[in-house]
Symmetry: C2
Subunit: 279 residues, 2 copies
């Protein structure tokens, strides 16, 4: 019996961790996960045929997210990371078809609540994530008297995708979106969209160094590490580098190049690209 359990655990250990996002943004989360767990296997799904999610309705975002989760489960993953903030607002499950589900909002909210001193927190996100109000709700679970100010920044995603990361135009747009928050004396700001860490320097220029910028992807990787340590999730510890498969619902050279570029710091292997259908 013990031997069977051992074999079962061995079998789960070698299964990949599934990560999905509406497109390329989740690669910033994947990068943190690979950095922290270099021996794990990963399957990343980018729903490039239907991106972005940030401007779509709650029902549509939930429907697309469940289809993505079903796809990853069909690939036999041992856990699913919802690496898209907008999708995370519509996935309330922590377990789906016997697979543990991790979203980016819970760890981001928790880290922000721990980081703030004056209890004034800004949340920068897509229109859909702001409208869902999930960050405010989750931050207040940890810190009931926190003041949370949300700001939708719809141009940040296309600016990040255009590659204008450290750019005077991006600085101007960041200033326009964020100047009101600055005057509200916040000391912590959540980067509540996976694209936003790419614009960290422009955001930091507006807020100044005394405002802590919380990267939800980083926070999620830290949370997952704690779960691994507590053995809730069997971790692969063999001394070999893991494999990486990048699945896209719409083929695109631009996406492939951008993701290789973003991952270059953390991978030495060539990931395998696949075009897939999730409906």
């Amino acid at each position: 019996m013990e031997s069977m359990n051992h074999e079962l655990t061995e079998c789960i250990i070698n299964r990949a961790i599934g990560v999905f996002d509406s497109g390329i943004g989740g690669i910033t989360v994947l990068k943190e996960l690979i950095r922290k767990f270099p021996f794990e296997n990963f399957i990343y799904l980018g729903d490039t045929a239907r991106l972005p999610y940030g401007s779509k309705s709650p029902d549509t975002v939930r429907q697309y997210s469940l289809q993505n989760m079903d796809f990853l489960i069909s690939r036999n993953v041992k856990a699913i990371v919802v690496a898209c903030n907008t999708a995370s607002t519509q996935i309330f499950e922590t377990d789906y078809k016997n697979t543990p589900i991790y979203n980016v909002i819970d760890p981001g909210a928790k880290k922000a609540a721990l980081a703030t001193e004056n209890k004034k927190i800004a949340v920068l996100a897509t229109r859909a994530t702001v409208a869902a109000g999930s960050y405010t709700l989750k931050i207040k679970l940890h810190l009931p008297d926190a003041e949370v100010f949300s700001q939708a920044c719809p141009l940040f995603v296309p600016l990040a995708e255009e590659g204008w990361h450290d750019d005077p135009i991006t600085n101007l747009i960041a200033f326009r979106y964020l100047q009101n928050l600055k005057s509200l004396d916040i000391d912590t700001a959540v980067l509540g969209c996976t694209h936003y860490p790419l614009l960290k320097s422009a955001i930091a220029k507006v807020f100044g160094n005394h405002v802590a910028l919380i990267d939800s992807g980083e926070a999620l990787a830290e949370e997952l590490a704690i779960d691994f340590e507590r053995s809730r999730m069997p971790q692969k510890t063999l001394f070999e580098h893991g494999s990486l498969t990048l699945c896209l619902t719409d083929a695109g050279q631009q996406f492939e190049n951008l993701s290789l570029n973003l991952l270059s710091e953390v991978i030495s292997i060539q990931p395998q690209f696949e075009t897939v259908s999730v409906i």
Copy 2:
């Protein structure tokens, strides 16, 4: 027999003209059509659940466009206007399931070829439309020795949707995208994406008044008027205002407000909104 033909024509006349776009951009085309044909009935389909098309692959854009056309045919339209430049690059049919198809690229290209004096034409469009090369091809059909310079302007769509139409930041971004074209001495520029007419003033500021800006939606409405006159397409001439149904694949208050705002100059009736599925 003559009476039967007459009845048949009567019946076709009362059918609506179908117009589709990936989202809100095509409303600028619809507006030109309503202005020119105030007595017609229109059904507009905005594929808001999957927008935008401009960053997606040719195969995906064609698949989505055919699904949109099938939906409009199921609504018994008498003609279909492909009011999205990116979709127009992948729809080569002029007739589909016995329904005439009009795209925005053919009339835009023709009008640009007629407007230029020095035969130097710029095409401003999405990445996908530029990559397809359709404008260059179609302009050269009319003017074989034209020099055509294409420029993708990926931030124009989100700027238009953010409502920053006449704005210093939009002027700066327009300057960055267009300064090279300006130095190439073009005298005509095609607004090769249905969102771009909303940024006309920023674009004109960069090019100056001597560059003719061609609005493909306007050109299409002119082309359709010629077809009506030649009776290729039965026109409704009864003295009553037509009806307007706006179908969206993803419900959204923001889209409804924006389209009402854009159409306010040309409609006095309240359009009917429907959320529909096209797959």
